[in-house]
């Protein structure tokens, strides 16, 4: 299993990096830490490349490499089990250009397999390109996506599950909030949530929201199945059934001490573009970390 973790800077990405490494360890997944830097216009590329190659001769490396270096130092602390990583030194000369990106593969051992990647360009395009190079199960990204449409673009265009580590504070005791309905994606989100809950010993709650007072068979059946699946793995679960507007209820219920896990919508992409979807609206409105499972 392979996860992709997008970082933006040493100043803001610390919690995302730690959370990502923790989740990757929980799944024994390989982690590709990607920094996407700004790309200057094509007219400037020639002189810029010339300048950068000359700077490298003076041991002044490509912008963005300092962010990878920071991530490398952090990972050494986060993954103490990885002895090879612990003794390794960051050497920019080991960064190789490959398929329009710069890649540094670090020493790997079971439990903390890491690769560092530097890309330049527009965030969604670059993450999508990176995800298409391998079979990634999850993309982990920080929560500073203030731009309009970012929630839609992340969910719609990235071909993997997405964890947005918005406002994540690793010192805080979180509860997992599994949003359960009759969709196909609910099953996968329960499996995902169970794995994290088991490793991190977090409490699990399931929430099923109906627009009317009556909960159909599909909804109650899905909630029952979710409970059974979690209890089968010895994970205690508390279940909630509420009525109201689903997105508003999810956001209100999650408060500031939950991590939301929900399935991605299977609606028509065009419909999602114009009218949104429950995951898109929840991601736009909530302030807590959220995992959307595809």
């Amino acid at each position: 299993m392979k996860f992709l973790l997008a970082i933006s800077s040493s100043k803001y990405s610390g919690p995302t990096l730690r959370a990502g490494a923790m989740i990757a360890q929980a799944f024994d997944a390989e982690l590709n830490v990607v920094y996407v830097g700004a790309k200057l216009k094509g007219l400037q590329e020639g002189p810029l490349d010339l300048s950068r190659e000359n700077l490298a001769k003076w041991n002044i490396y490509h912008p963005g490499i300092e962010v990878l270096k920071w991530a490398f130092q952090e990972l050494k602390e986060i993954c103490p089990a990885n002895d090879e990583l612990k003794s390794a030194e960051f050497n920019p000369e080991h960064i190789k250009e490959d398929q329009n990106r710069y890649k540094l593969i670090l020493p790997t051992t079971k439990g903390c397999k890491v690769q560092l990647t530097l890309r330049e360009g527009e965030l969604i395009q670059e993450l999508r390109d990176e995800l298409q190079l391998d079979d990634y199960a999850l993309t982990i990204i920080g929560g500073s996506q203030g731009k309009r449409h970012m929630a839609h673009d992340l969910i719609q265009y990235l071909p993997s599950s997405i964890f947005v580590a918005r406002g994540l504070d690793l010192k805080k005791k979180y509860k997992l909030l599994l949003l359960v309905d009759d969709s196909e994606a609910t099953k996968r989100s329960v499996t995902f949530g169970a794995e994290i809950a088991k490793t991190e010993h977090w409490e699990v709650r399931t929430l099923t929201v109906s627009k009317t007072k009556r909960f159909g068979r599909g909804y109650s059946g899905a909630a029952k199945k979710a409970k059974a699946a979690l209890e089968k793995r010895d994970i205690p679960v508390e279940q909630f059934f509420l009525t109201g507007d689903p997105v508003t209820t999810f956001v209100d219920f999650s408060g500031d001490d939950h991590i939301i896990i929900m399935g991605a919508s299977t609606a028509n992409p065009l419909k999602k573009l114009f009218f949104g979807s429950k995951p898109i609206k929840t991601l736009e409105r909530s302030t807590v970390p959220i995992l959307i499972v595809k």
Partner: protein
């Protein structure tokens, strides 16, 4: 379902291509051209405006935009394929190609370490003197070998000094900005000094020849413009020190460390001397032979000599030369010539004159202010060379002395002080991540005032003496 997502994503990424296409198709098929504009001129304007949208927003790689400009001239029936091809390759494009390759050849020699030592010997340890030295050396070198070559060579020197002054450059932000901007603005103000200072100067010279305006020699260009370069250097230093206020007055330790690092390179090697001698030959060729052979051909002779003497490998030149930019300038110049041939440039010029003559009485003031304002603004959005390629034919049709208007336009194309995209030297310092967009604005407006006043002084007091 994934196919729909892929299509939506393609639309998201290529929206500006689609907008440009809808705009172009609508104008061509559904909008009636103005009565006084012939169809070929109208189509030339459509192509150029579509190209501008594509260059600014970049939904396509630059070579694709260049190819688009070329084939559209034939598809819309503006000219024959052979004529479009002949306009595409000319001495200005040879010069851009040659100067980009010469830059690779020169930078790869490692002469930057010699340069660093030379500057330090000249300036000593005081910060203001180093800033002055960086500005003056960058300006003078850039006027001959081009601003991007100088910026690429000077950047490591500047950044190394900053790094030795403080491990965290953010703690010496004023010093960092002063040093880096002295390279960028120094190179930019110098790039107007001679025709070889920048591709845009040669593009203007090419337009003069193509449009039958006349020819200007290398030395004549210097005679008209170099005083402005020399005049601006001390004021640029003052502006930089006033704006960025370096945290340290003396860079004693940093300079000593830099000297130790540079000294490791040892004595000047034979191949370095050879590289200098070859460039000197190219320079003398530009000064004394360019009227007969063309600046571009001489630049290519220089590239040939660097290759023949084994000072640079073809693989290195091939890898580091931005062929896309060469294609783009070739295509932009060809459409620029079509604008002149079809009368599109004249039509825009007439429109500008008839609209603005109500506001500005004097034709000379109008011609000068339009050329400077249009070029200066567009340089900050597009890039200096691309601006001259596009705006050149229009301003030359504004009337008045076309040589002087051409000089003013070439000079104004270097007024790209406000953004990182205007000049290659500005892009290079911006890419370090140590200067911010607002730094360009902070110092840029002062530089713009200085440059406009200098140009005005040049036009009012110096050019009348020469004409």
């Amino acid at each position: 379902m994934n196919v729909y997502v892929d299509i939506l994503f393609w639309i998201r990424q290529k929206k500006w291509l689609l907008i440009a296409l809808v705009y172009g198709i609508s104008l061509h098929f559904w909008v009636t051209p103005p009565a006084d504009l012939n169809p070929a001129a109208y189509d030339a304007l459509i192509i150029i405006s579509m190209a501008l949208i594509l260059i600014i927003t970049e939904p396509l790689p630059l070579p694709a935009i260049a190819i688009f400009m070329l084939f559209m001239q034939v598809v819309l029936g503006i000219d024959t394929a052979n004529n479009v091809a002949s306009y595409f390759m000319n001495d200005a494009v040879f010069f851009i190609m040659g100067s980009l390759m010469l830059a690779v050849a020169i930078v790869s020699q490692g002469l930057d370490k010699r340069l660093a030592l030379g500057i330090i010997k000249l300036t000593g340890h005081k910060t203001w003197r180093i800033v002055a030295g960086f500005t003056a050396i960058s300006a003078i070198l850039a006027s001959f070998i081009g601003e991007h070559t100088v910026a690429a060579m000077m950047m490591p020197v500047g950044l190394t000094l900053v790094r030795y002054a403080n491990k965290d450059p953010r703690k010496v932000a004023g010093l960092t900005a002063a040093l880096l901007f002295s390279i960028a603005y120094g190179a930019t103000i110098g790039s107007i000094g001679t025709p070889s200072g920048g591709g845009r100067n040669v593009i203007m010279m090419n337009y003069w020849t193509e449009f039958g305006v006349g020819t200007v020699s290398y030395l004549e260009w210097m005679k008209y413009i170099y005083p402005m370069v020399l005049f601006q250097i001390p004021f640029t230093v003052m502006i930089l020190l006033w704006t960025f206020k370096p945290e340290q007055d003396n860079l004693d330790t940093a300079v000593r460390k830099l000297v130790v690092e540079v000294a490791r390179a040892g004595k000047v090697k034979a191949r370095e001397w050879m590289a200098i001698v070859l460039f000197a030959l190219v320079f003398f060729g530009w000064v004394f032979l360019s009227e007969d052979y063309g600046l571009g051909i001489i630049a290519l002779v220089g590239v040939f000599l660097y290759l023949a003497f084994g000072l640079v490998e073809w693989s290195e030149l091939n890898r580091k030369t931005n062929w896309g930019v060469i294609l783009l300038f070739g295509a932009a110049i060809s459409i620029g010539i079509q604008m002149n041939e079809t009368g599109a440039a004249q039509w825009i010029a007439n429109m500008i004159i008839s609209n603005l003559s109500r506001v500005i009485d004097s034709p000379t003031v109008l011609q000068g202010s339009v050329s400077v304002l249009l070029t200066g603004v567009m340089s900050n959005i597009l890039s200096s060379s691309a601006t001259v390629a596009v705006v050149g034919p229009i301003v030359l049709d504004l009337g008045g002395d076309q040589i002087l208007i051409g000089f003013a336009t070439a000079i104004a194309s270097a007024f790209g002080y406000f953004t990182a995209v205007a000049a290659p030297a500005c892009t290079i310092i911006y890419s370090s991540g140590l200067v911010k967009s607002k730094d360009f604005l902070r110092a840029g407006w002062k530089m713009a005032v200085l440059s406009v006043l200098s140009l005005l002084g040049l036009a009012l007091f110096w050019w009348p003496v020469l004409r």
